[in-house]
């Protein structure tokens, strides 16, 4: 019992912090989504579900996660394995590969917009080469629009996975590589049987983080496509600012929260050793 008081005192600041910035907004959010002028209601949730944009946003978000995350992990792992071979100018490569981490999503979105837009860099180059230009971001071309979002997100967010994988790789002693190669392992056997299994905790963390962040993807798609390629968080923005309906906006935000929790718990269970 003597231990309880100082312990409480010590964690009090973080309890206050968590309560003020997480618990309170969560309660307020749930209240806002399920409480109308006449008491408890599901009208906002129904309104959300009746909106075709919501289902499109849900589909797009899911599609983005399914396409983006495997690509990002493959890229990040390859990049990290390349770094492990200690190439020349490794520090410079690392720095360049990590730069996107330091750039805000909106800025990244605007940069990619200047590339993909009708009179952007990409079309200028194509034109210069005598290849006909293309309206990459037009709502008439949903495939290239999606592709542009994927490319931009890939550029922007792969470095996060890369950094986590690099950190994980540093925890795998080189002795293991050496032991594996003495016992006859080829490079791929080493990666498969020795390195990847030991990266599991790092990959798990990266996967949870990236999935949650991908569920929250917003600024890049917003900058590139506006509402032509709706995403869930983009829809909360729409409902909150354009349609001035914070209740429906919160309902969508709660969907994002629920999906994030499901994803995190799912990964933790799936990747349990």
């Amino acid at each position: 019992m003597r231990q309880t008081r100082p312990a409480l005192l010590l964690i009090a600041p973080s309890i206050v912090f968590m309560a003020a910035l997480f618990l309170w907004p969560l309660i307020a959010g749930v209240t806002q989504a399920f409480h109308g002028p006449d008491g408890a209601t599901t009208q906002y949730v129904r309104r959300m579900a009746d909106d075709p944009y919501f289902w499109e946003a849900l589909r797009n978000t899911a599609l983005l996660i399914v396409v983006l995350i495997p690509l990002q992990f493959a890229l990040a792992i390859v990049m990290a394995l390349l770094m492990r071979e200690r190439p020349r100018f490794a520090g410079l490569h690392f720095y360049i590969w990590v730069v996107p981490l330091a750039i805000s999503d909106l800025a990244a979105g605007l940069v990619w917009l200047s590339i993909f837009t009708d009179r952007g860099y990409l079309n200028s180059v194509l034109d210069g080469l005598g290849i006909p230009t293309y309206s990459w971001l037009s709502f008439e071309h949903p495939q290239t629009m999606f592709l542009a979002v994927v490319v931009a997100e890939l550029w922007r967010a792969t470095s996060l996975v890369f950094v986590i994988v690099i950190a994980g790789l540093q925890g795998v002693p080189r002795d293991y590589d050496e032991a594996a190669s003495v016992f006859g392992a080829t490079y791929w056997q080493r990666v498969r049987h020795v390195i990847l299994p030991q990266l599991r905790p790092s990959l798990q963390v990266a996967l949870i983080l990236r999935t949650i962040l991908a569920l929250e993807a917003f600024a890049v798609a917003q900058a590139l496509t506006g509402r032509n390629f709706p995403l869930l968080v983009g829809e909360t923005y729409q409902w909150y600012y354009q349609l001035q309906n914070p209740n429906v906006a919160t309902a969508i935000a709660l969907v994002v929260l629920a999906l994030s929790i499901v994803a995190a718990v799912g990964y933790l269970r799936l990747m349990r050793p």
Partner: protein, 359 residues
């Protein structure tokens, strides 16, 4: 089974300003157990790693079983290795760890099982096959590392200080066990250690290394009894060999007013200084008497350390400090004066300049 031949191996690390191995040549016969021993930084581990294919030599060749493997990657050299850190994989169970080499070679399931179980049995690991390394003690992890190395039936077994992370008692136990196992397998073995006692006890031959070169190689007792240079005598043995400078004068070794008979072979060094060496256990002590004919030199006891099976004395005489090993029953105390007998047959002589043995 295969012989290992190392020819003129030179290796300089990019960061080092001297050669880690300096033109080393070494022949390990088929089935032989050779121990590389030396102080840290002498190049023994570098040499082993070049044989393993984990380091590339600047020049020179390594061949295994008559095949030049200098440019081959480790996995194509047909050898196995026990690492100082064990390097057993934490994510694999003991069974998969022992069978790792076999898995890489895609050995069939039935044979895989037989060989893993045989290796586990040899190292008393049968009860631990389904555990993870984290659930094992240091000694058991060490056994897993050895079991993994022998499960592949490689032509050559390399061991890099495999016992150095064990506590003293376990090290002593496992040393004997290792010797038995390797003898039974008959695998050509190259073993690195900094522990001279380990080197003496394990090797068919011991190669004492210093500054990137092999100072002396031979059967343990030969190297121990006839160190080819002062360094070897001072490195092998606990306590190390005693050295003192003496002048050869008419068939005697003279130090101050003390003298002992010198062997005839030193005639050429008359009136010159030589470095004499003698092992602690070859010196016998007697109380000082008035008998004028008594042989030997006078000394005073400074420290007496009982070790159980013997007493180690540190004595001072005209030639400096000497370590003397006597039987456990001898009663001596610091301050006692003794007569030391330094038998000519046990004395070794070195050039005081070069430290090399005199012919």
């Amino acid at each position: 089974m295969a012989a290992v031949t190392v020819t003129n191996l030179v290796k300089t690390y990019p960061s080092g300003n001297r050669r880690a191995t300096d033109d080393i040549s070494l022949d390990v016969a088929d089935g032989e157990f050779v121990v590389l021993v030396g102080p840290s930084g002498c190049g023994k581990t570098t040499l082993l790693r070049m044989v393993a294919g984990l380091e590339t030599p600047d020049s020179g060749t390594v061949s295994i079983g008559g095949r030049d493997v200098t440019r081959l990657p480790a996995r194509e050299r047909g050898l196995s290795m026990v690492f100082q850190s064990y390097a057993i994989f934490p994510h694999l169970k003991v069974r998969q760890n022992i069978g790792f080499g076999l898995t890489m070679q895609k050995v069939g399931k039935a044979e895989w099982n037989t060989r893993v179980e045989r290796a586990a049995e040899l190292l008393d690991l049968t009860d631990y096959l389904d555990r993870h390394p984290a659930q094992l003690s240091g000694g058991q992890r060490q056994r897993v590392a050895v079991a993994r190395a022998i499960a592949v039936d490689a032509d050559v077994l390399l061991m890099d200080e495999p016992l150095s992370n064990l506590d003293a008692l376990l090290r002593l136990q496992f040393r004997a066990e290792l010797k038995k196992i390797v003898a039974r397998l008959g695998t050509t073995t190259l073993y690195v250690t900094h522990d001279q006692a380990e080197a003496m006890s394990l090797g068919d031959r011991v190669a004492v290394m210093r500054d990137g070169r092999i100072a002396q190689i031979g059967a343990p007792m030969d190297v121990y009894d006839h160190p080819g240079e002062r360094f070897v005598g001072g490195f092998l043995g606990a306590p190390p060999m005693n050295f003192f400078t003496a002048t050869v004068h008419h068939g005697n070794l003279v130090v101050d007013d003390q003298s002992v008979p010198a062997p005839a072979s030193l005639a050429a060094w008359n009136d010159k200084k030589v470095l004499a060496g003698i092992r602690a256990e070859n010196i016998t002590i007697t109380p000082i008497t008035q008998d004028r004919a008594q042989e030997g030199v006078e000394a005073e006891v400074e420290v007496a350390e009982p070790t159980g099976s013997a007493i180690l004395l540190t004595v001072r005489w005209a030639g400096g400090e000497l370590k003397v090993q006597t039987g456990p029953g001898v009663r001596v105390a610091p301050g006692d004066r003794l007569r030391l007998d330094l038998p000519a047959a046990a004395l070794r002589f070195y050039d005081p300049e070069t430290g090399l043995a005199l012919a």
